[in-house]
């Protein structure tokens, strides 16, 4: 039988340490990245006019955005359906959703040609035909909704039933953001690698998967990976419900990936030939076998699913697999240039530049710093 051997004070000091580390990392990674961008401009990225227009920064942005909406979906569904078991993680999930989104949007802003102009040009353009317009509008309302929900839970005696309307709005917006993010790609009918009606649905399941992995990993991180310090209510939730849900989400995501791969390998449409390269790449094998199947086994086997190390490892592997998945989808859809491909059969080559890798670190460190700030100041683990 385990017992809590670590005091709240110690946990807070460890969270301060995490925040400090994240801020130092952010300072270094962000400093170098910004200095590269100041010196080279967009040339610091490896995207080009040859056909690969959206590079690693967009991958990072969408990865963090979808994880954020997944976390919000989990929290709001718990509130709507009265899952008192989920109470210990609801506030943490909502704050983490905000923290992740901040990291992702920061990277997007560094990729845009005119980030400040975007702040007014998009909302006031009323470009109703553009999926990106709807995405930005939905994200804006989604952030407001997250903040309202979090603010209403600042009271020590918050009750789940009081927050249902807010939670329903948050859930609708989180689903909307995710589905529209899918439409941004899925609606590109002449990019068969991207275009499919099931992409918004696949994105929703990916978001949920990311949200589950993130909440497990970051809850353990909140207790500095000291399983003995984790409250029993959280342990019960993880052992009974969340591990199973994570396994189910992995399985569904795996089905989507394999279904896309099989139709891609059989299809002759222009652009689908990317699958022949992707499906034989070491990255793809790492995603499927290490990032998805291994966690699935760990979470399905009764001997390991209740072990904190297995839950942490499974979450970490899934988080990595989702990043690979997002990279393969966004980059893969551009590897056959739409028109130049008609006489240049070779696929484009692309690898993130050092600055682009630094932007991944910027997103990770920034999100971690914001998250740790919430842990320290808002008492996210407080259940009452």
């Amino acid at each position: 039988m385990t017992s809590v051997t670590v005091s709240n004070k110690e946990i807070t000091s460890k969270q301060l340490g995490i925040m400090l580390l994240a801020l130092i990392g952010l300072g270094i990674a962000g400093g170098i990245a910004i200095s590269n961008l100041m010196a080279e401009g967009h040339a610091a990225y490896n995207s080009s006019n040859l056909g690969l227009f959206w590079g690693f920064p967009i991958v990072i942005y969408d990865y963090f955005l979808l994880t954020s909406t997944g976390l919000a979906m989990i929290a709001s569904m718990a509130l709507i359906f009265g899952g008192e078991d989920f109470r210990p993680i609801v506030r943490r999930a909502l704050w983490l959703a905000l923290a992740g989104l901040i990291g992702g949007v920061a990277v997007l802003m560094m990729e845009l040609g005119h980030p400040l102009r975007a702040l007014w040009a998009i909302p006031f353009s009323f470009a109703f035909s553009s999926p990106l317009y709807w995405k930005v509008m939905a994200v804006s309302f989604y952030v407001i909704s997250l903040l309202i929900l979090q603010a209403r839970m600042m009271k020590a005696d918050w009750r789940m039933q009081d927050l249902r309307i807010n939670a329903m709005i948050t859930l609708a917006l989180a689903l909307g953001v995710t589905a529209i993010a899918g439409v941004v790609y899925g609606s590109q009918s002449f990019r068969p690698f991207w275009a499919s009606g099931d992409i918004p649905v696949a994105f929703i399941f990916e978001s949920l998967l990311g949200g589950l992995a993130f909440i497990i990993f970051f809850t353990y991180l909140a207790y500095a990976f000291n399983a003995a310090a984790v409250p029993d209510s959280v342990k019960r939730l993880f052992n009974d419900r969340l591990s199973g849900l994570l396994a189910l989400a992995i399985f569904i995501h795996l089905l989507f990936v394999l279904a896309r791969m099989s139709s891609g390998l059989y299809g002759n449409a222009e652009g689908l030939q990317v699958w022949q390269t992707l499906a034989t790449s070491p990255l793809f094998f790492a995603e499927i076998f290490i990032g998805l199947l291994l966690p699935l086994v760990l979470l399905m086997y009764p001997g390991t699913r209740i072990r904190p190390w297995a839950q942490i490892l499974a979450s970490l592997l899934v988080m990595n697999a989702l990043l690979i998945s997002r990279y393969e989808y966004i980059i893969g859809g551009q590897l056959v240039p739409l028109f130049k491909g008609s006489w240049a059969p070779e696929l484009l080559s692309y690898a993130p530049s050092p600055t682009e890798w630094l932007l991944l670190l910027v997103a990770i460190f920034l999100s971690n710093a914001v998250n740790a700030f919430g842990e320290v100041t808002l008492g996210l683990g407080r259940e009452g």
């Binding site: 401009g41 006019n49 040609g113 317009y133 739409l338």
Partner: protein, 254 residues
Amino acid sequence: MAKWGMVIDLDTCTGCQACTTACAMENNRLPSENWQDVLFYHEGTYPNVKLMWFPRPCMHCENPSCVSVCPTKATYKDPDGGFVLMDYNKCIGCKYCQVACPYGVRFYVDEKAVVQPDIRGVFPSEAGRQWDPPYKGPQDDPSRGIGIQPHGVVSKCTFCYHKVSKAPKGVADLDEDIPELKEYVPACVRVCAPKARFFGDLDQPNSNVNKMIADKRGVRLKDETGNKPQVYYLSGGATASVPSLRSMSDSDKG
């Protein structure tokens, strides 16, 4: 209202690239930012290899996907003339229009220079624009994507809006052989030595371009995308031709 369109006769085109050069000069484009390009490729395997080329401006589509996806309406369809234009003042550089254009005719040139030396370093600009060449066209209209381009925005062919839009109303064809109209002819059309390019109003049934499209069975590139280009190709099968889709066998890759 005119609906300007272009006809390119691939039987006549020699691939000389005068159109590319004229466009670059007229519009102060950077090297490699070829609004009007001639793309070279080959088909077949040795010894049965054919060198092919394909001139490709912006298609100024009737139903442009680049316009639909733009989140700020920076790229828009001009109702008077059917041009697809860019408003540099509204563009945020998200590049969604580049992603959505099936023809690869949009450019974001803040990346590494393809052609060295980087001419932007040779003629730097202090006015927040890409470069400051010794010769600059007299036209400058950022709301229509005309003139030296600022940083952080996408650019594209304007169909020489600054010339065509000044043509007398009701003109059916802009032909460089008609002295009073030649100043209004797009640069790539005017300079075409073998006279492979024609420019006119697609909404006027009696325009020369409409007759050529009808008589020589003009085709539109990647018409299956639904973008409905206003550029038509006449492809008789002599030298250049509209490229087939990419379904080439491995042996064709060369």
